[in-house]
């Protein structure tokens, strides 16, 4: 008897940050997932089984993530863990899941550990920070003809991944950073870091930053008359940047995989989707809502394909030859194989123009 799958129901677990520093994201991911589940259930579920989502709160704390995973896996008997947020949290929770053959399905973190080293139970969908920066930074350097590239990054695994990706990209074009400077998560003052980059004469700054730090850094730079090209990762690709930072943010670049769903989006299906979300949750959707939605969409596709006999093993067998076509959001096509558990390593570049993200490049090709 497969745990989490009954005649009528499939139980999906997810761990989000609902009370910690990323509570905003966690909530959006969950809502995105719920939206897709409701759609699926309205259409009769997956092979006749309704989907049920159980959310746990980790508060962005790895220990609580383990406790939550234990509860979900051993108490609630989930079939799959989908869209778990946070790198350290995933790393901490995965052993608990794997003991019971619970797949860690498309976590919301672009760290390489989410599919490396290869494991039967690990699947990730979107390009990692590493790949994003590796592709985008050299391209932008060429375009802008920058000779001095610097980096400011959050002193944790996330920031380091961005840094390493950019470093790898620069190496490919025989460059290195002119200056690297870091800050601790939660920092609010970036004056000394900016001063440092300014005195190094940077022309381009790679931002291993999330939201407030991105805004803080750019604002501080603009204030002191320091105007290099700024490029961030998909972690900085959120509407909050221009909402919080205002005019000063114009011109900033960020890599991205799925677009932000503006309510007045030109593309018809996205606008329709965004308004549906807004009606349901009385909240504007964010790019994280899209992640949540896409993650569950992918799960539903895979579960559908697996057929009525849904077990961990049969699900993995399906996953290992699954191709996910591009969707309404224009996300890149995903392809899984028994040796490649990352769906896609493609990303593109977006820039803030007149207080809104505009996509400015095609998907970069990476070998």
């Amino acid at each position: 008897q497969q745990q989490g799958v009954s005649k009528t129901e499939i139980t999906i677990g997810t761990i989000q940050d609902l009370s910690g520093p990323l509570a905003g994201y966690g909530k959006a991911v969950r809502n995105g997932m719920l939206l897709r589940i409701d759609e699926a259930n309205e259409q009769g579920g997956v092979n006749g089984r309704k989907l049920k989502l159980i959310t746990e709160d980790s508060g962005y704390d790895p220990k609580r993530a383990v406790l939550a995973a234990q509860k979900l896996v051993n108490q609630d008997k989930i079939f799959i863990m989908a869209g778990h947020i946070g790198t350290a949290q995933n790393n901490a929770a995965m052993p608990v899941q794997f003991e019971k053959k619970v797949v860690n399905f498309l976590p919301v973190t672009a760290a390489r550990e989410m599919y490396e080293p290869l494991s039967k139970f690990k699947y990730a969908l979107f390009a990692t920070y590493f790949d994003q920066m590796r592709a985008a930074v050299p391209a932008l350097v060429k375009e802008k003809k920058s000779s001095k590239v610097c980096a400011i990054y959050q002193d944790d695994e996330f920031g380091l991944e961005v840094l390493r990706g950019a470093e790898a990209g620069l190496k490919a074009i025989n460059m290195d950073f002119a200056e690297k400077t870091s800050y601790k998560r939660g920092a609010t003052d970036f004056s000394s870091q900016v001063a440092r980059m300014k005195s190094a004469g940077c022309e381009m700054v790679v931002l291993g930053t999330i939201i407030r730090e991105t805004v803080g850094t750019i604002a501080e730079a603009r204030k002191t008359g320091f105007n290099p090209v700024f490029i961030g990762s998909s972690a900085a690709y959120t509407d909050l940047i221009h909402k919080l930072g205002g005019k000063a943010m114009d011109g900033m670049y960020a890599t991205m995989t799925v677009p932000h769903p503006y309510l007045d989006e030109a593309s018809n299906p996205i606008r329709f989707w965004a308004n549906k979300y807004k009606t349901k949750f009385n909240e504007d959707p964010t790019v994280f809502s899209v992640y949540g939605y896409v993650i569950l969409d992918t799960f539903i596709q895979a579960a559908q394909k697996t057929g009525p006999n849904l077990t961990s093993d049969s699900f993995i067998a399906t996953m290992d030859k699954l191709t996910v076509p591009s969707d309404i959001f224009g996300s890149p096509e995903g392809k899984f194989t028994p040796t490649q558990h990352l769906g896609s390593n493609k990303s593109r570049l977006s820039q803030i123009q007149d207080g809104k993200w505009k996509i400015v490049s095609d998907y970069y090709k990476l070998d």
Binding site: T188, D189, Q193
Partner: protein
């Protein structure tokens, strides 16, 4: 030149630490408890300001007194509801209470749909103004922070040093029993102190808002204010400011000069050095018991 710029930014940042530290010292001086909720009160204050400006449409200059008032009432209510019933218990119980208050405040704000989990900007009139003093750029936000901090600490210093109520607050913290014997309305004063501390927190929140934005976790900056208060000497109001500025400047300079990572722990290294050299801080009282 760059250094000067860095130092000034450090001073401004330090004043923010000092401002929060002022709240700690205030409560410590008057009740001998260390309030771990001060950062959260500041966060609530910032949200108050946000409510006033963004949702009620008040002008910023009116939002300041209104949030101070609102927060003062809030502080008083908190005291009334949870602190007063345990007044007289060992100070440590109350420290625990403040941790609980911090959790609840953060959680409640997060629970507000659509608002709590977001980051907001507080529109302040002076936000984009800055002065260029021959290469050193000074933001108006920083000038306002420095000025407000200096004024506030001066006022509080005078109140504690010379006013009857101020002295009575100190008396109650040193020997609560004797304060009762003297007819000092310890409970009322306690309420007053919390109201005052919350109002100070509101100011800190409003001044900080343009710099760090308003969000549920902005109170964590309070952790940097502890070292500030300790360096200055925990019982001393001017000490809080001086300590804050020291920490701010050391932090800024070590971020500029020293290898990666030092900026983030500079504050704590300063504290440890301070405690070794001068255990009671720069302006702390000499705390030796006479037997």
């Amino acid at each position: 030149m760059q250094e000067l710029q860095v130092i000034f930014s450090g001073v401004a940042q330090g004043c923010i630490y000092g401002l929060i530290a002022l709240g700690f010292v205030l409560i410590y001086k008057a009740t001998e408890t260390v309030s771990f909720a001060q950062g959260e009160l500041m966060m609530l204050g910032a949200f108050c300001g946000l409510a006033c400006v963004n949702w009620l449409g008040l002008p910023f200059w009116l939002a300041i007194p209104s949030s101070m008032l609102a927060m003062a009432i809030m502080g008083w209510l908190i005291e009334r509801a949870v602190i007063r019933p345990v007044l007289g218990q060992p100070a440590f119980s109350i420290v625990m209470l403040t941790i609980g208050i911090g959790y609840v405040a953060r959680g409640l704000i997060t629970m507000i749909p659509d608002i709590g989990t977001e980051t907001h900007t507080l529109q302040v009139p002076y936000k984009d103004t800055s002065f260029d003093l021959g290469g050193v750029v000074i933001g108006a936000t920083q000038v306002v922070v420095v000025t407000a901090t200096a004024l506030l600490s001066l006022v509080l210093y005078v109140v504690f040093r010379y006013s009857r109520v101020g002295i009575a607050m100190q008396a109650s913290s040193q020997n609560q029993l004797a304060a009762y014997y003297m007819g000092i309305p310890v409970q009322k004063l306690n309420g007053l102190v919390w109201a005052l501390a919350a109002a100070v927190a509101a100011i800190a929140g409003l001044l900080l808002a343009p710099i760090t934005f308003v969000h549920a976790n902005m109170g964590f900056i309070g952790l940097k204010a502890f070292p500030a208060a300790v360096v200055g000497g925990f019982g001393s109001l001017p000490g809080a400011i001086v300590g804050g500025v020291i920490i701010g400047v050391v932090e800024a300079l070590s971020g500029f000069w020293l290898p990666e990572g030092f900026k983030d722990i500079a504050a704590y290294i300063v504290v440890l050095l301070m405690l070794v050299l001068k255990p009671n801080g720069l302006f702390g009282e000499n705390l030796r018991k006479k037997v």
